[in-house]
Amino acid sequence: MKVIKEKHPFLMRWTHWVNFPILTIMIWSGMLIYWANDEYSITIFGHTFVKFFPDWYYDLLHIPARLAEGMAFHFLFMWFFTLNGIFYILYTIISGEWRRLLPNRHSFKEAWLVILHDLHIRKMAPPQDKYNAAQRIAYTSIIVMGFGSVITGLAIYKPVQFYYLTWLCGGYHLARIWHFALTIGYVLFFVIHIVQVILAGWNNFRSVISGFEVINEQPIPVIETPNEDEKA
């Protein structure tokens, strides 16, 4: 029998979908800024594996020579990014959703099992609950990363007035590197996230828009037993 099962509360869906375009704009305008001093690469033992970013990439996205414009967009949308993040965190705290989101003491061991299961190495799936252990870690990390972006961002935006944040990030130069690395982290998260959403299928995807999942329940005969909860 088909049953509607509530999954994602409205505010979860709201903050998720508001964040998506805002983060996209932040990453894009961040690239407009980064272009003006694009010094980062992944170089190991003198061999450069990745250069951020190659010329064809800049040209494709019309990045070059738009520093002022990039800053103007970045310093407007930083407000929305931060406020939406604060709103989400407050919501998870007040609603108690954090209990289903934060990793617990089993999560790190279980997350490993989730990965093995997803890679079809292990047959049995670890407990799912609303979020499985790997999801708990991923969805908590992404919030920590968002917080990190705000802190490292402020550290390079006002390094004199927020000198303690700059100090915390290991100095101005390092703060800029962190800020960049976190952005690369979002992109990696996004790729895995999309693959997982596609694999999880329609029912799961729809729940992030409509809030519910449809599950098939075997009708179980109800056995009347005195229940402690019912007395309360």
Partner: protein, 257 residues
Amino acid sequence: MKKLKKELTVDQKIKRRNFLSFTVFGALGASAYGGWRWLYTSPEETAGITAGAHKPLRRALNKTEIFFRRLTFNENHLVKTYPRSMAAKVIRHNSDIGSEGKMPPENWKLHVMKISGEVLQITLEEIMKLPKTGITYDFKCVEGWDQISHWEGVRFIDFINHYNLQAEATLQYVGMETPDKQYYVGLYMPSALHPQTLLAYQMNDELLNGNHGQPLRLIIPVKYGIKNLKRIGTITFSNSRPKDYWAEQGYDYYSGL
């Protein structure tokens, strides 16, 4: 007559809720896209003291400036300084708009416009007689690079006091221009009076050369490099924003750190 409401079947409920949420989702998505197109294609601001930015974005920059300036700017917040030995020997040269070539000190005078209309003309020799202050700090360019460098000169606040410009210092802004008026900056007074702001004539152990604003330049560590004008010709004081080279190219007027 009242119509009896029939209990919806599960399938009907699913259909109904899907329809509703996807419609709302689509509508919000479309209006978000519309809002973005509106912003992205919004007209440029009318050129004035600032220019070159989208109108709504300039408004946002100005509001954000006021927020951070009022909330965070404090003259006791000092720029981090480094041991002199960490200063770069070769100092990066990015631009010489308004300060091309050489300007020997004997051909140069600093012009200070007082409120009274009087113009002070000051030679480098006179400036070098004032108390000397040095600073080794991380110079930060708006492009994103930074370099630890060492500068020496007279603190702007000492300069103000020595030449009795206290009345001028009560105005809101300082303007500085190169002698050929090709490059100019506007500074919010508290940043100019910040204890680490220097009128510098020396870089490492040498007097400034052609590339770095010979003979006198501004070193204002609480601002991006774009505000650190090379080769000061004229200093003015006002209550309205003085013109600013990069603010006319779409950059934030304040550009404070």
